[in-house]
Amino acid sequence: MKRNLFLLAGLIALFLLPIGQGNYFILILCSWLMFTIAAMGLNLTLGYAGQISLAQASFIGIGAYVTAIMTLAGIHWILAALASVIVCFVIGILIGFPALRVKGHFLAFVTLAFNQLVVLVARNEDWLTGGSYGKFNMPRPDFGFYHIRTNLDMYYMIVVIFVIFAVLMYGLIRSPWGRAFKALRENPIRAESLGVDTRRITLLAFAVGSASAGLAGAIMSPLVQFIEPNSFALLHSLKILLMVIVGGAGYFFGPMLGAAVVILLPEFLRFTEGYYLIIYSALVIILMVFSPAGLMGIGEKILTKIRPNQQVRKDMEKGAQL
């Protein structure tokens, strides 16, 4: 009951947040939700299934380019978004194959190389991606009953997509698949001995995580209406990883908080002018030193103090194991 009320309050807050705000701030809110979707995908791959990926931004890129190319060709955004998700799901399966052979840092390097490859393809294949000039003037979706013209319209569309996505993701994590993902993270050998097809579940962890980023890309395309290869460079994958880690890997609401810190906090610190990035970096370092399990980890620690019988998630005490 308490949880439902909390969720309802959160939902109402999401709808009220942009009211009375300027165009720029609404755009920032849109970015926050868009990156939250991508980070929730990475949270599934890393936080729940324990598979490191440094290629999340490249999947946003793939999703954004697929949507841009299709919508510029006159295809409706819904179909383009669907295609983006499917393409990223399939490529996600392919990028998951190395994870069957290599783990940890080695896997991180494989995914990092993939991210770089996607950026290079986007830069060099002008005929398809527009090269360094990128793609621009992508149309905003028109649903007949709901024409998207302003950033506020766009925000409400993203909120609806985000809520549907979050419900689906929650269902997935609570399902037997979610249990298998966690088993893969905690003890893959034992999981396999209990009948879990760890190969299949590893590939699915990558596929679902990548498809989520594809959806974020499909949102990005009509949101910013300009995409170019550097928007999906490794730096952005690291940024999404930071969102997951700062929020708390393996916690459902972690990425939402993490994305808020990474996207919103620098904006709130702008009043410090030239110092905002220094303050932002210092805050992140302090957080990681004192709570490797991220913001959700702090919440858990407080809960444990209040209710000592409630066990803190021991695997997350040291943060996500990369």
Binding site: R174, S175, A180, R190, E192, L194, V196, Q311, R313
Partner: protein, 248 residues
């Protein structure tokens, strides 16, 4: 129809010049509790791993319910009705006891799609509760498995191995590190399960009292080969076994 559940035929396994298992053959009948004992380095674990498909033998064949299983992946082996426990603790520490047990059964229910769109517990909560009750873990049902004591985790490990209703369970040092009270409880539960379900057990164990009281037949390995086979009483009085393993 034969009542042989596990058939090990002429298994040999070498690592370079070290012959870990030499031409070992034995059968295990339905409902039997077979103990595999022997000094360290006698080849027990290698043989166990050959049976479980984690090592491919250089020679020989392993059959479960008449089907060759050499080199088979553990998840496929599990679906053939083979459960196992591990020497080290092998529960999922950040899942509740209930979730650990449900996970152990969920892959045997429905398809990938029904497991995605069906009930979160795959409809296994009543069955899991029965298993929890059987191992007397009901007061710990909703606790994180990682917060359980060592002995309780060993019980949970065994409960997980039984959740899918296997025809054969391989127990790798189930008594290792378990205190005397919990050990008695574990043994009693294993015996009861064996008698009520007629499940076949193969047990590797160093605790002689545990093995002698649990197993109906014992095979003794030394230097990769079988040196004795028989009932617990026969093994106790076998001079070769006394010399090689039990001591004076």
């Amino acid at each position: 129809m034969s009542d042989t559940v596990l058939s090990v035929r002429n298994i040999s396994k070498s690592f370079g010049n070290i012959h870990a298992v030499r031409d070992v053959s034995f059968d295990v009948r339905k409902g039997e509790v077979l103990g595999l004992i022997g000094p360290n380095g006698s080849g027990k674990s290698t043989l166990f791993n050959c049976v479980l498909g984690q090592l491919t033998p250089n020679q020989g064949e392993v059959m479960v319910n008449g089907r060759p299983v050499s080199g088979m992946r553990s998840n496929d082996l599990n679906k053939l009705g083979v459960g196992r426990t591990f020497q080290q603790l092998s529960v999922f520490p950040q899942m509740t006891v209930l979730d650990n047990i449900i996970l152990a059964g969920q892959e045997h229910h429905g398809t990938m799609l029904t497991r995605l769109f069906g009930k979160p517990d795959a409809g296994l909560t009543p069955e899991a509760d029965q298993m929890i009750e059987f191992f007397k873990l009901e007061h710990l049902r909703d606790e994180m498995a990682g917060s359980l004591s060592y002995g309780q985790q060993k019980l949970l490990d065994a409960a997980m191995a039984f959740m899918a209703g296997p025809s054969l369970v391989l127990l790798d040092e189930p008594a290792g590190g378990v205190n005397l009270t919990m050990l008695g409880h574990l043994k009693e539960r294993l015996k009861t399960y064996n008698e009520s379900h007629n499940t076949t057990f193969v047990v590797i164990e160093h605790n002689m009292e545990f093995v002698m009281s649990l197993c109906s037949r014992i095979i003794v390995l030394a230097e990769g080969a079988i040196i004795a086979e028989g009932s617990p009483d026969e093994i106790r009085s076998n001079q070769q076994v006394i010399d090689a393993y039990l001591g004076g």
